[in-house]
């Protein structure tokens, strides 16, 4: 096989290769090297460089094993190339499947005019929907609240209200409330301790048979539905306080 010399420098491709092997490139730019890669057959390049390598090993008196690693890794390099070719497709699929609306890619390929029209239509529809929502709002009432009003106060509410009224109307309690400054709330006079006796029966219950407070029961069922009912220990604790 006869090689053409480099059009400008008239170097033989093998001479360029030889100089490159010695880290002594022939010119200031990489044009010869690029030309060499284009011009010289791959197998011929490998053949020559393998020869240089063996010659070098001989001259440097390295009776050493000089394996051609390229032969061993070529298959793996090809596999890496194949993976890289597949990679863009996979990343596209990943985005489509996991993060994007599947139709997003179709939208991307729409003509700009159609896209703009579609966006404008979406905005108008959204505004109409908001307007309709505002228009209908005064006429609609929550079903739960209207039903509650129709039924009147619940039994729990009535019990709670009665309890609070009875406690608030006790003369001793009123005295305590009137006479205490905010900073004295924690140190009640011993004479007023009998106010505790005026508390309703459910608040004075013992630890063995705790009174069941309908308010507490309702409260816990509302805030912690996973428990279902007020745990016994909690009822005792709140009863004492």
């Amino acid at each position: 096989m006869t090689d053409r010399n480099h059009p400008k420098t008239q170097f033989d491709p093998a001479e360029i290769l030889s100089a490159w092997w010695d880290h002594e490139p022939v010119s200031e730019d990489a044009s010869e090297l690029n030309w060499l890669l284009t011009e010289m057959d791959h197998s011929r390049l490998r053949h020559k460089l393998r020869g240089y390598q063996l010659l070098q090993a001989h001259l440097q008196n390295q009776a050493a094993k000089t394996p051609d690693l390229l032969s061993s890794i070529s298959a793996q390099l090809e596999q890496i190339d194949a993976e890289r070719e597949q990679q863009p497709k996979q990343s596209w699929q990943l985005k489509t499947d996991q993060f994007c609306n599947p139709s997003a890619n179709h939208k991307r390929f729409l003509p700009p005019v159609l896209r703009a029209t579609a966006i404008a239509a979406s905005v108008i529809i959204a505004m109409l929907a908001v307007g309709l929502a505002f228009f209908n709002e005064p006429q609609q009432e929550p079903v739960s609240s209207s039903a509650q009003r129709a039924q009147g106060p619940s039994a729990n509410d009535q019990a709670l209200r009665a309890t609070l009224e009875s406690v608030a109307q006790t003369p001793q309690m009123l005295t305590v409330v009137d006479n205490q400054a905010p900073d004295q709330v924690r140190s009640l006079p011993s004479a007023n301790r009998n106010v505790v006796n005026e508390l309703p029966s459910w608040a004075r219950g013992g630890s063995v048979e705790p009174a069941s407070d309908p308010y507490l029961t309702t409260h816990y069922q509302t805030t912690a539905p996973e428990y279902g009912t007020v745990p016994l220990q909690m009822q005792i604790h709140f009863g004492r306080d």
Binding site: V26, D29, L69
Partner: protein, 195 residues
């Protein structure tokens, strides 16, 4: 153009998907990498595996090479890290290892124990290697004096083209040409062993 720039030009081509360019870099540096990892492991087969692994890692990471350093310096780091990782893995698995204390020095001096990587192949293979050595020696002896001197100064003494030009009192272009012609002549004699 500096030597590292010519390598970087090849790297750029390889980054653009030109496998041929990367193959050239493998062919150019495989022996250096092999010698380098041979300082970490005594077993020649293991050294070969490590060198291969280093090149594959380099190929995978080629997109991250920005050309801030010479390609070989970058490859050197990959090879050393690969060898060190292998040593750690061997130590964990209880495999007996030996680390040459000179390893890690970036200089590419000949190994203190060159027999480490000596070919322990079959008798046929050893005989073929012997024949190859003899054919190279014959071809070298037949070379004209100026060609043989230029090639010897380059390969055995490691002189640059500029230094050889000073020694031989000729232009650099002539040195380049002499070395090239010497190689071509010897390669001609080696032909049967290369196929």
């Amino acid at each position: 153009m500096k030597p590292q720039e010519s390598d970087n030009a090849l790297v750029e081509r390889a980054q653009a998907g030109d496998r041929k360019a990367f193959d050239l870099l493998v062919l150019k540096y495989q022996q250096r990498v092999l010698r380098l990892v041979g300082r970490f492991v005594r077993d020649p087969d293991q050294a070969q595996d490590l060198a291969q692994e280093a090149f594959i890692k380099a190929y995978r990471a080629l997109d991250r090479f920005r050309g801030d350093s010479a390609f070989y310096t970058w490859l050197y780091r990959i090879a050393v890290n690969t060898a060190k990782n292998k040593l750690s893995a061997n130590a964990r698995s209880g495999y007996s290892v030996s680390l040459n204390q000179s390893a890690g020095n970036e200089s590419d001096d000949p190994l203190p124990e060159p027999e480490r990587l000596r070919d322990h192949g079959t008798p046929e293979r050893l005989a073929a290697t012997e024949e190859l050595d003899q054919s190279i020696a014959r071809a070298m002896s037949k070379l004209p004096e100026d060609l043989r001197t230029a090639l010897t100064l380059r390969e055995m003494e490691g002189l640059s083209y500029e230094q050889i030009a000073e020694v031989m009192e000729c232009p650099i272009g002539t040195v380049r040409s002499r070395i090239f012609r010497a190689r071509e002549a010897v390669l001609q004699a080696m032909q049967p062993y290369l196929d």
